[in-house]
Symmetry: C2
Subunit: 346 residues, 2 copies
Amino acid sequence: MSDSAKKYTIAVIPGDGIGKEVTPWAQKALEKAAEGVAEFDYENFDLGAERYLRDGAILPEEEEERIKKTDAILLGAVGDPRIKAGILERGLLLKLRFDLDQYVNLRPSKLYKGVTSPLANPGDIDFVVVREGTEGLYCGAGGAVRRGTPNEVATEVSINTAYGVERVVRYAFQLAMKRRKHVTLVHKKNVLVNAGDMWQRIVDKVAEEYPEVSHDYLHIDATTIFMVSNPSRFDVILTDNLFGDIITDEAGAVVGGVGYSASGCINASNEYPSMFEPIHGSAPDIAGQNKANPTAAILSAAMLLRHLGFDDAAAKIDAAVEADIEELGSATRSTDEVGRDILARM
Amino acid sequence: MSDSAKKYTIAVIPGDGIGKEVTPWAQKALEKAAEGVAEFDYENFDLGAERYLRDGAILPEEEEERIKKTDAILLGAVGDPRIKAGILERGLLLKLRFDLDQYVNLRPSKLYKGVTSPLANPGDIDFVVVREGTEGLYCGAGGAVRRGTPNEVATEVSINTAYGVERVVRYAFQLAMKRRKHVTLVHKKNVLVNAGDMWQRIVDKVAEEYPEVSHDYLHIDATTIFMVSNPSRFDVILTDNLFGDIITDEAGAVVGGVGYSASGCINASNEYPSMFEPIHGSAPDIAGQNKANPTAAILSAAMLLRHLGFDDAAAKIDAAVEADIEELGSATRSTDEVGRDILARM
Ligand SMILES: CC(C)[C@H](C(=O)O)[C@@H](O)C(=O)O
Ligand SMILES: CC(C)[C@H](C(=O)O)[C@@H](O)C(=O)O
């Protein structure tokens, strides 16, 4: 290792199920790609369903404070069917996204050569969804009265601020400048007129600063159609928290499954660490069988490197993954075989 | 016509663009299918973008009162790119859905023989989405402060009531009894915990009354994946207003395009007329060219007949459409040719 290698502390949250099997491969890819340019110290955090079932803890304050002091976070997957929906999501995943102000939820979708899309004519799919990560319907600003009675009323409130929207809009246009220079705003402004109108006005305003970037608008419902009928039309999709959640899963499906998709929850102002994870869940049905594909986790390591400024190191991982999938994507391999194969190409 | 034929008044709102070209075919199909069993008087309403651009009226109270007195509504399509998003949607379409308490938005999806799905292996697709139509984020209960400033805050509020949810849940289970007896609740209860929890509790409660109907739950994001990877798993999809909007468009895409999809906005308590329409829009780009496919509009006439209790008449239309698509679905035909071909088979 070179003396000039920069040092970083990475918080590692392997989580549950296959999260624990794929995360070590993300770390190995990180190490190998950054050899000579960066050095990593890892701090492991035992968080997720298994921890919660064991001692009731979800995200103790002291642990969150330690996470906040790291340079980046690698997350595996969190979840277990025994736990009621919402508890870990809101107590751990969303709490980190919100407390660490990870306002850009970045989700690339690419159809790799060697992967079979469920679409008959998928075309050349290569786009990125820039999903707002700290506002909208994810704020937890709802409530219920007369719960469990015939007169129950339950609300969910979407909160959207010019401050929060403008920073993610700007991020999307900057990203488009490095890509094919097109931004598609996705919303439902014909119904959600208050939030939709604000998003559209801010996009129009920021767009003036990027005259080379073209932009258009699609309703979320129409977007689900294009995602199936013509996904290659997209370059950068810019959208809010809920629509981003929905459209990235459909995107994952059309590029052949969430096994090839990673995501970054990014604090683009760098006040707090950003978090990188495969899009797939903890998959309890195949956990512990050395069956899970570590590719998405390895791709999340590339996103982490790119975020820290190591573009060349990130590109090494991306190239190795691309070559691996093209050659062996359809072969049945164990977690460790895929991991070893990808590392061998780096 | 038989003396015993029942008489109905149908409000016809052809609307804009291709709406005006396809609606006459829906009426002709209605007439022919119901010969001898029902007689229709039509009351035409000039509503939509063209009317609004001409005299500024969207849905005058007097006209809405007349619509309320009819037995059912046939709608073509409404919209024009010159009008700001939200004006006609909220002032006309959603106003009718809400004022006429059309709480069941019924959207069947079927992959007809002769239609090419964009999926490589679509399987046997035949499901119905039961979308709640009078609550959720569609209530218009949002607002904005400091509009246009860097401190703007815009909200959208989803309002959900046990009353509103239970009636649509019950409808879905009743519908499932006439089909393959499976209901899938679609929501995002791991994030929208208040509304999602209420939906789930009410589904679990109503399900006890229908022991023959099985039910499961999917998050909306996972649903967009299954819609592409395994759409034949669905029988009755039950969901809220916004998720229903999104998933039905994706469903329309996987069954080969919205040209074959009709929808009903149904007041299942029959206090007010229900409304039937093709799912497609006014398509200004092909309007006036006798090019639009009237199949979806004709299918909406079948839904109207079924709603009024004329199952046999409705089945005549469905069978004619099915045979027409199987034989000629891939041929290039004009609006009038398709209309005539379908009618000739009835
Ligand atoms: C687990 C859940 C809270 C989360 C979300 O809705 O954001 C997930 O679906 C995702 O997309 O990362
Ligand atoms: C036009 C719009 C208001 C409407 C909706 O969102 O319900 C449409 O998309 C639909 O699905 O009928």
